[in-house]
Amino acid sequence: MSDINLQRRNFLKTAAGAAMVTVAPGMLLFDVAHGNPQSVGKVRWGMLIDTAACVPGCNDCVTACNKENGLSGATTATDPQWIRKIEIKDISSGREVSLPMMCQHCEHPPCVDVCPTGASFKRADGIVLVDKHRCIGCRYCMMACPYKARSFVHEPLQDQNPDVPRGKGTVESCTLCVHRIDQGGQPACAEACANKVILFGDLNDPESAIAKKVKSVVSTQIRADLRLNPGVRYQGL
């Protein structure tokens, strides 16, 4: 075998090896069909929240979420809160805004990166979930989340909603009411808001109400500087 051939052979082997090593991690990401096997094209669920319409002191979205998912509604330091109302005040101008805050369902979720077992994962349609079967309760995702979206279940639970399994020792957060969405419904918070603050829909469908509105009004993502590309956008911030 001539030297040139040997060199080429080695080069090809190294290149193939390098390519495999580069591609392999990508193949570990779940890129599978969204719930409906007949769907064409990729859905990305998201929400647009109109903070101007959000009323300070109103907790309808929180109450609805608690009822839907079987949360106690208590707000001590150890109680899970999947959605909460935050009152913010601009320090320099004094302008006050009220808004609901939940898991932002990022495109590049830090919680998914740090989870040792892969329990924290992103579904193909963009919803970030905790697979309770794999969760070992290490709470690393809670450390990683920039939005404090995750809660840890500190006590044994009884009489859970059959649609929303939750248990002691695992971490949980807003599921975008995945059990409702998979049947074609809306998240409970979006449905419950009397002022239509939360608009839910498919960001990737150009005909959807949310896609049209996001294209026409000014909206931002919270902590956009982190480049996580959350699926939840806010108007009026």
């Binding site: 005040k89 805050m101 077992t117 309760g137 450390m143 920039p146 939005y147 840890f152 500190h154």
Partner: protein, 391 residues
């Protein structure tokens, strides 16, 4: 076998110490059982401060476990004979502390019954998953290294084994540092200085633990530590302490420089109550200034200096970790920069944390496990250093 005679009293004392350590470990197991039954609500941890006392203990033990191997590395990799005879003891302490730290970490999990899930589901982007490989690999690497040291026929392999352990523990301690480095959103973490800081700190804490254990063993057996070796090891510890203080200082100084970080630094260093107290008095004064005075001022009592300085360094280490881990979580996330924030979920509020008895017992249980492994190891096998005869 180690050549020492055991007076009746010491034999009894040994068993008493073992019993005390075993009962602490038992108390820790009871705490774990309570946590499994009632949930983490019985601890002081909550949705704001998710990692507490168990993690302070565990990270100290793991970092010190990596650092104590310095003694072996200086012997095997850098060929210093005074350290070479201490290499097996350092290896034993490393395994013991690693076991203790991992015990605490694994038992603090919300679902410790799912460790098998952690071992079989591996997310390659997660440092925790990598640490599972690194920590278990460390046990194997140190075990092999000990074998090359203590089995005469394998002695020629001790240098490559020592080198492998040397590299492995650098990777492992980096892995411990990046647990925090990778957390981009928290003001206390998300910094590339943390892995090197942890590595240098591991040198200081590891050597401090080694000194304490060595002093105890020599006192117990009526042996005298050669003054030359004492001085070398003592000065080395001084260098490590200065180096780690440098890293901690740089970390804070850089933070203070950034406008978006000054409020956090003010919390940690000035206004945060327990955190500045632990930092300045516990870490800086007790953990750095006093030990350095003890190490470098010749006026003080010659032999007792090292164990006292080492104990102070260890106490300082715990204080630093408390401030770093718990203080870092207590300071709220800056979700809306430029806004003041309030909500039902403690947004914008300093998180509260009070260490609870189950957590402290669990942490002490890890120390107990480390003690038991070390004490049994020293008693059963030939770990006590054979001093080189003076020429």
């Amino acid at each position: 076998m180690a050549s020492y005679s055991i007076p009746q009293l010491r034999s009894h004392l040994y068993y008493v110490l073992m019993a005390v350590a075993a009962s602490i470990v038992l108390a820790a197991m009871f705490s774990v059982h309570s946590m499994e039954e009632h949930g983490h609500i019985i601890t002081g941890m909550n949705n704001q401060v998710v990692w507490g006392m168990p993690h302070v203990f565990a990270i100290f033990l793991i970092v010190a476990a990596s650092g104590v191997l310095n003694v072996s590395s200086i012997g095997s990799v850098f060929n210093k004979p005074a350290y070479k005879v201490r290499a097996p003891l350092a290896g034993l302490l490393s395994i013991a502390m690693l076991a203790g730290g991992l015990t605490v970490l694994m038992l603090d999990l919300g679902r410790p019954d799912r460790i098998i899930v952690a071992a079989t589901n591996f997310n390659p982007t997660s440092v925790f998953a990598w640490n599972i490989v690194l920590y278990s690999g460390m046990f194997a690497a140190v075990a092999v290294y000990l074998w090359t040291l203590m089995e005469q026929r394998m002695n020629s392999w001790s240098k490559p084994a020592g080198f492998a352990v040397f590299i492995w523990r650098f990777v492992l301690t980096t892995g411990t540092g990046v647990i925090f480095s990778f957390l981009v959103a928290r003001q206390a973490y998300g910094s590339a200085i943390l892995p090197p800081m942890f590595i240098v700190i591991s040198f200081a804490w590891g050597l401090a633990v080694f000194h304490v254990v060595q002093a105890a063993i020599y006192e117990w057996n009526g042996k005298l530590l050669d003054e030359y070796v004492q001085k070398r090891m003592r000065n080395l510890m001084g260098v490590f302490v200065i180096a780690s203080l440098y890293f901690v200082a740089t970390y804070h100084l850089t933070n203070i420089y950034f406008a978006r970080q000054t409020e956090f630094e003010r919390f940690i260093l000035v206004e945060g109550g327990i955190y500045p107290q632990l930092f300045w008095i516990g870490y800086v004064l007790l953990g750095n200034v006093l030990p350095l005075l003890l190490i470098y001022l010749p006026a003080l009592d010659r032999f007792k200096r090292i164990p006292v300085a080492s104990l102070l360094i260890i106490i300082g280490g715990f204080c630093l970790l408390y401030v770093f881990i718990i203080g870092g979580q207590a300071f709220p996330l800056d979700i809306f920069p430029g806004y003041s924030v309030s909500s039902s979920f403690a947004d914008g509020e300093i998180g509260t944390y009070h260490p609870s008895l189950p957590e402290i017992l669990l942490g002490l249980g890890g120390v107990g496990v480390a003690f038991l492994i070390s004490a049994i190891g020293i008693r059963v096998l030939d770990f006590v250093p054979h001093e080189i005869p003076k020429k």
